[in-house]
Symmetry: C2
Subunit: 116 residues, 2 copies
């Protein structure tokens, strides 16, 4: 599956019905978040003091095989939640804050809604 390049959205879900094509793109990102291991990976990377984590940090944090971790990293990267960079022998992963912010905004509850 090809990477999901640009940011795609737009108004909060609760504001107006999301366009079907946009929904498909957004759903891919949420689907990537819909796995406990990937959520934890994302959280570990995002909360690292240096802003990045190497794969070795991650394999150590789970009772899963290295290929499985690598697979999850690829999923997160393909939907634009992570980027990776090689330095020396190690791959370092970082979160893409814009992506997180975008999703956060999509789920935001308009003021008009809380008033009801």
């Amino acid at each position: 599956m090809e990477p999901l390049e640009p940011l795609e959205c737009c108004a909060p879900l609760a504001r107006e019905p999301i366009d079907p094509a946009q929904a498909a793109g957004v759903a891919r990102v949420f689907k990537a978040l819909g796995d406990p291991v990937r959520l934890r990976i994302l959280s570990i990377v995002a909360s690292h003091a240096s802003g990045e984590a190497c794969v070795c940090d991650l394999t150590a944090a789970f009772d899963l095989s290295q290929p499985t971790i690598s697979h999850h990293l690829k999923v997160l990267k393909d939907v634009g939640l992570l980027t990776s960079e090689r330095r020396a022998s190690w791959m370092y992963y970082r979160v893409v804050p814009e992506r997180l912010a975008e999703l956060s905004g999509l789920l935001a509850v308009p003021a008009a809604m809380t008033e009801r």
Copy 2:
């Protein structure tokens, strides 16, 4: 699968590594959002002027069978994103703004992160 009752979280993912047990709960909710049809259903319900939509509104909006829509509604309801109420012959669905807000908060990007 039993419904996911109480709100479960907590600090933004980018703040500290999420607890594995919490990750499992949160992942269920994101997985529910990880389908284009469910995303659209949620958006249609959430953006309805009255704050609710009946199943008939939804089946009309998709080229899918009524059981399929009903299934997706159940998934969204089980993770606490929707509630339903019967009035006369129709079932009305509403979003649970607290759930949306909770997810939005989880994905929020701490100020410390944007500064980097």
